[in-house]
């Protein structure tokens, strides 16, 4: 019975691909499955997972948030800067970091909800604002004075090979899953994504949902930014610059529909894993670093093709309701 359920899940194909890839790479390159490598792989997956979730929620309401990376970067340097320049205690620095992320997300959400201007345009402009503030504060120089315990958080592991960074990622993963699958707010998010008009007609406040989702997205981007600081051990102003493609690729590979209304947390996790494995495999097999870019693009196209096939199959074979 559970097996049947597993096969039915839309991410079962992806899970199979990921499992086969791990077995194959592990067989060809035994070093792939060493504890140290697993730890590194998991750390990469953890950070990227939170980034992907920040985007996935917005995709859920049928919008885009181009400023995920800019928010993450702004929070990262604020977090490091507060510890470096003002010697703020870590909990306080984390709190301020989260608040900045939340505020940035609210800023996006409020403008989008109240003006009705496309989220694409607003987040494109706010990307410039957030990144600009980042550069204005740092003058492109990193903050070094990251507290020792933050550094060791980014470096340490527990129960053998699990990096500590996996904890916030798990928390975010479970939180978002619970939100979307078990809570009213989450159902409303998907309803708004499927059709704002219909959602409005059944009494959902589309405006509040849009604002709330953007606030959450900002919060997750903030978490990701601080995780990267812990991992890199410095507050680098370029943090977040290359999150854009990844943030869309992982949810889409995981089966998200860009028009909104349909996202999949487990699928996104597998999407993130796929990307991380490919990045690692390319180093392990000493493949030309230039090819990474092509792979990533083809992967998105492949995922789109698979989703397309599934849609066709569903429309062909599903019983008329």
């Amino acid at each position: 019975m559970p097996l049947q359920k597993l096969l039915k899940a839309e991410w079962s194909g992806l899970l199979l691909v990921v499992t086969l890839a791990i077995i194959l790479i592990g067989y060809l390159k035994p070093s792939f499955l060493t504890p140290f490598n697993i730890q590194i792989l998991l750390a990469a997956i953890s950070v990227n997972m939170v980034i992907a979730l920040a985007q996935m929620l917005i995709v859920g309401i049928g919008q885009m948030n181009l400023s995920v990376g800019a928010i993450g970067g702004l929070v990262a340097i604020s977090f490091a800067g507060l510890m470096d320049v003002f010697q703020l205690p870590i909990p306080l620095a984390v709190l301020v970091g989260l608040l900045i992320g939340l505020a940035a997300g609210l800023f996006n959400g409020v403008i989008i909800a109240f003006t009705g201007i496309s989220a694409f345009i607003i987040t494109l402009a706010s990307l410039s604002v957030f990144k600009g503030i980042n550069l204005g504060i740092t003058e492109a120089q990193p903050f070094y004075g990251v507290a020792e315990s933050v550094k060791s958080f980014g470096n340490s592991s527990f129960i053998g090979t699990l990096p500590l960074l996996i904890l916030p990622a798990l928390l975010a993963l479970i939180g978002v899953w619970f939100l979307l699958n078990r809570m009213r707010f989450g159902r409303h998010v998907l309803a708004v994504g499927a059709s704002p008009t219909a959602a409005g007609l059944v009494g959902i406040s589309v405006r509040n949902i849009v604002i709330g989702t953007h606030a959450l997205s900002g919060l997750l981007a903030a978490v990701a930014g601080m995780m990267v600081v812990a991992r890199l051990q410095i507050g680098q102003p370029t943090i977040g610059d290359d999150w854009l493609i990844l943030s869309f690729a992982a949810p889409v590979i995981g089966g998200a529909v860009l028009a909104g209304g349909h996202v999949n947390v487990i699928g996104t996790l597998l999407g993130v894993t796929t990307i991380a494995i490919i990045t690692q495999a390319l180093v392990l097999f000493e493949i030309d670093p230039f090819i990474v870019q092509i792979f990533l693009g083809l992967l998105i196209l492949w995922a789109v093709g698979i989703n397309r096939l599934r849609d066709l199959r569903l429309t062909l074979f599903s019983k008329p309701a």
């Binding site: 694409f120 003058e139 209304g261 030309d288």
Partner: protein, 340 residues
């Protein structure tokens, strides 16, 4: 997908009747802003009106205008093209290879690289209409693929031995003030205006973008039209990158940024400020032109005001955000007044 389409269509038809009435004022508003800021910069800075600055400003504008057009022609379809930067740099690298690797002469290489850009755009278009997947995802993927292929094939080596005419052209001054590049973008603007206003192809593009179903019913081949829009976008991206190459005298893999993403902001700002609707079907060539002028002007002025380089982006972002919001506010006010 279907629902998003529907809702965009309904706003579109509502906006069209109103915006058409204020068609003039949209461009007029931009022109007004341009004049205001130009006056401010001329009064507050030394050197804004100097010969060199006006020349350099004009040259920067010319490239941004064509980048803006390359996005505008796809926005007409209600889609977008994230791969403009990747297509642009891929096309000029192809041109560089033709000249340095194949010994081709300049005019032939130029024609082939523009066609190459058009071809890459057409590939986007074919995939978009065949799969029905939103162009955002398709071009997000192809921006990665095109750039990756280009970097892999060239091994990130720039083509630096182009004929000297290329760089000379980029440095030419007409009457000391005017760059020939600006004339090219003016020419492109006129051609696009003619295309959309006076040719059936252009009108089909607008009709298909505004309402694909209706256009299909009235006999427009919507799929082919959309593919042509994407091909045109690729061609214009290649042209913009060629103009940039004239500016630098070399075809450099990093000239449009990592995976070409440095072009995204100018590409979207100009058409959006210019009043092109993201939902498709409406286009303003003059507005896009003015939009690009405004953005370049602000950057130039902020630098001359000695705003720290690091704060320029934040100020620019804030100004643009306010411009978008003001434009929205103006539309709302105008709409309300009309109904009263």
């Amino acid at each position: 997908m279907a629902s998003a389409q529907e809702s965009s269509l309904s706003t579109n038809s509502r906006d069209r009747s109103s915006i058409r009435n204020f068609f003039f004022s949209n461009e007029f508003g931009l022109l007004f802003l341009i004049l205001v800021f130009a006056t401010i910069f001329a009064l507050l800075t030394t050197g804004f009106t100097s010969r060199f600055n006006l020349y350099a400003l004009g040259r920067n504008i010319s490239i941004d205008v064509v980048i803006g057009f390359s996005m505008m022609v796809v926005i007409v379809t209600g889609g977008l093209n994230l791969s403009v930067g990747s297509i642009g740099v891929s096309a000029v690298m192809f041109g560089g290879w033709l000249i340095e690797g194949m010994g081709s002469n300049l005019p032939i290489a130029l024609i082939l690289l523009l066609l190459g850009g058009g071809l890459l755009g057409a590939v986007n278009g074919v995939m978009v209409v065949r799969t029905g997947v939103h162009s955002f995802i398709i071009t997000l993927a192809t921006m990665s693929v095109y750039f990756g292929l280009m970097i892999w094939l060239t091994q990130a080596e720039a083509f630096r031995n182009l004929p000297p005419e290329v760089a000379t052209f980029g440095r030419t001054k007409i009457y000391g003030y005017l760059s020939p590049l600006l004339l090219i973008s003016l020419g492109v603007a006129i051609m696009l205006a003619v295309l959309y206003r006076y040719t059936s192809l252009g009108r089909n593009m607008l009709a298909a973008g505004a309402n694909p179903t209706a256009a299909e019913l009235s006999g427009v081949n919507v799929k082919r039209t959309f593919i042509l829009c994407h091909a045109l976008s690729g061609l214009l991206a290649a042209l913009a990158a060629t103009m940039l190459t004239c500016r630098t005298g070399a075809a450099i893999p990093s000239m449009t940024g990592h995976i070409g993403q440095d072009w995204l902001l100018p590409a979207f700002l100009a058409p959006v400020l210019g009043g092109t609707l993201l939902s498709g079907g409406k286009v303003s060539v003059l507005g896009t032109f003015f939009g690009a002028v405004l953005v370049s002007l602000l950057t130039n002025g902020l630098l001359l005001l000695q705003v720290s380089e690091f704060w320029v982006q934040a100020v620019l972002g804030a100004l643009l955000l306010s411009a978008v919001l003001l434009e929205k506010l103006r539309n709302v006010v105008l709409l309300q007044n009309r109904f009263i």
